[in-house]
């Protein structure tokens, strides 16, 4: 559904942000987009929804180039930016104004999401805190029932109970026809949600694999000193490592450890997942 082919982008010449990104993002998944600061995760989301133009390469969303800004394509996707400003009206009013753009929007559903996220839909948006405003916008985004939902650091600014509610809502959102792409540094907040992990680095896509594939090919956990591993780091519980899963027994996925392994030992990790 979202196809990126050899995509490259630079804000300044000789300082590429994204280089040679080739990805296929399909429906039925919650894709986790991970990468260090400044690697281009937000830029990639903006390119996908047609806000920004790649320097080279091809972007295809439902067979269309998002830069053409075809309304039908745009109404099937929604982006929640990390930082944003909304008109100073209540969420209910905002929804009434913006809903005509999204044919599957459901007001009752949005009010239900607001109750779950503990945000008042009748209070002016400018009188809400940034976290509450984000919850309000997430509630609106979910109620638009779009097929492609792009979330940029969605849990930043959310309080602890809201993070739980957010996870519940998002888990119920995805079906075979829909996809969610979450760009985040807060992996712990979405660890149990993500079922496809994409790690970006300066060279491009370091890893693009489902959690099932990762767990079947890699093992995560504590290791003794002499063990052969792909990546090892010191933690508060002793040495932890990522190793090739030879035994076939699945260990629980540690995304933070996987990320560090994929950036430190890119070649070995990527070779295991060549599709």
């Amino acid at each position: 559904m979202i196809e990126l082919n050899n995509l490259s982008f630079a804000y300044r010449r000789k300082h590429p942000v994204l280089s040679n990104i080739t990805l296929n993002l399909s429906t039925g998944h919650i894709h986790g987009l991970l990468g260090c600061n400044g690697i281009g995760k937000t830029t990639l989301l903006k390119i996908v929804c047609g806000i920004m133009r790649p320097d080279s390469g091809r972007v295809c969303v439902d067979g269309r180039n998002p830069m053409e800004r075809h309304p039908e394509m745009l109404s099937s996707m929604f982006i929640v930016p990390e930082e944003f400003d909304l008109p100073n009206v209540s969420l209910r009013r905002y929804a009434a104004i913006t809903a005509p753009f999204y044919p599957n929007f459901d007001m009752e559903q949005m009010l239900g999401y607001c109750r779950e996220l503990n945000v008042d839909a009748d209070v002016r948006l400018h009188s809400l805190s940034m976290g509450q405003r984000k919850k309000a916008y997430i509630a609106f985004a979910l109620a638009c029932n779009v097929r492609m939902l792009l979330l940029d650091e969605p849990t930043n600014g959310l309080d602890i109970p809201s993070k739980g509610a957010f996870r519940r809502l998002l888990a119920g959102y995805v079906d075979d026809e829909r996809m969610v792409v979450i760009s985040t540094h807060q992996v712990a907040d979405v660890e149990q949600l993500i079922d496809n992990i994409i790690i970006l680095d300066t060279e491009g896509v370091a890893l693009n694999a489902t959690t099932a594939e990762i767990c079947s090919r890699l093992s995560f956990g504590r290791v003794s000193d002499g063990a052969e591993v792909l990546y090892r780091e010191r933690s508060v519980v002793g040495d932890v490592a990522v190793a090739v899963n030879d035994s076939g027994e699945e260990s629980s996925l540690n995304i933070e450890l996987l990320f560090n392994a994929a950036t430190a030992n890119r070649k070995a990790i990527s070779e295991l997942f060549i599709r």
């Binding site: 804000y11 830069m67 800004r69 309304p71 745009l74 008109p87 104004i97 753009f101 999204y102």
Partner: protein
């Protein structure tokens, strides 16, 4: 789904006004306040009406800023840019906004000044005289609208492309438009064409009115294209 739908252009307009009603209100009050102060100081509503012309000249920038606010503002631009509205629909709305809403805003504000002035001050002139003055000197001054709108839209384009301050851009655009209009009049007067801009004012007014509607929108469209090329960095 076509790329030009009136329904979506209207929906975009609703979004625009809901987001920017405060800016429009501020502009409206500015257009009202200065002529009122003039009226108050000179104790004459006629001076207020004349001052409203000068005010409109300087409010052009406010008009252009309102028109492009959703594209320029850091907090709103990405959300506005992600709305399922085609570029054509956005430009259609801008055409309506700059050709209908903005002059209406000015006319309503000027009329309000007039009515407040007439109630407040004991003017030597009657209502009929002041209304005539208003319609002759303000409402029918299409070249003024032309000048203001083109200058403001040109200033925004200069601001975007040359990366100079908005005030500096406005000064440059102001001078450029004055020179352009003066040059056009000179060329047309000297040309062998069957009309003379000094003599055929009615014909010129019609051309000016059309230009007033179209040229600012073309300049806004250029701003839009430049903004997309600049990766949304105004």
């Amino acid at each position: 789904m076509a790329t030009l739908s009136l329904r979506r252009a209207v929906a975009f307009g609703r979004y625009h006004y809901a987001a920017l009603w405060r800016q429009y209100l501020t502009l409206f009050l500015e257009i009202m306040a200065v002529p009122l102060i003039f009226s108050l100081l000179s104790d004459s509503v006629v001076n207020g009406v004349e001052a409203s012309l000068v005010v409109y000249l300087f409010c052009g920038l406010g008009i252009a800023k309102c028109n492009t606010y959703l594209m320029r503002d850091r907090g709103t631009r990405y959300i506005a840019a992600a709305l399922p509205v085609s570029a054509e629909e956005q430009m259609l709305f801008m055409l309506f906004n700059s050709a209908v809403v903005m002059p209406l805003l000015f006319v309503v504000a000027s009329l309000s000044v007039l009515l407040i002035g007439l109630v407040t001050f004991e003017d030597t002139f009657g209502l009929e005289y002041v209304l005539t003055l208003f319609f002759d000197e303000v409402f029918l001054r299409w070249p003024l609208y032309l000048f203001v709108q083109i200058t403001a839209a040109g200033a925004l384009l200069i601001n975007l492309l040359a990366r100079r301050s908005l005030l500096m851009s406005y000064v440059v655009a102001f001078v450029a438009v004055v020179l352009l209009l003066w040059g056009l009049v000179e060329i047309l007067t000297a040309s062998p064409l069957p009309f003379n801009p000094v003599r055929d004012t009615e014909y010129i007014a019609e051309v000016a009115m059309t230009l007033y509607c179209l040229v600012p929108v073309i300049l806004y469209a250029l701003c839009y294209v430049a903004l997309r090329r600049r990766q949304m960095k105004w």
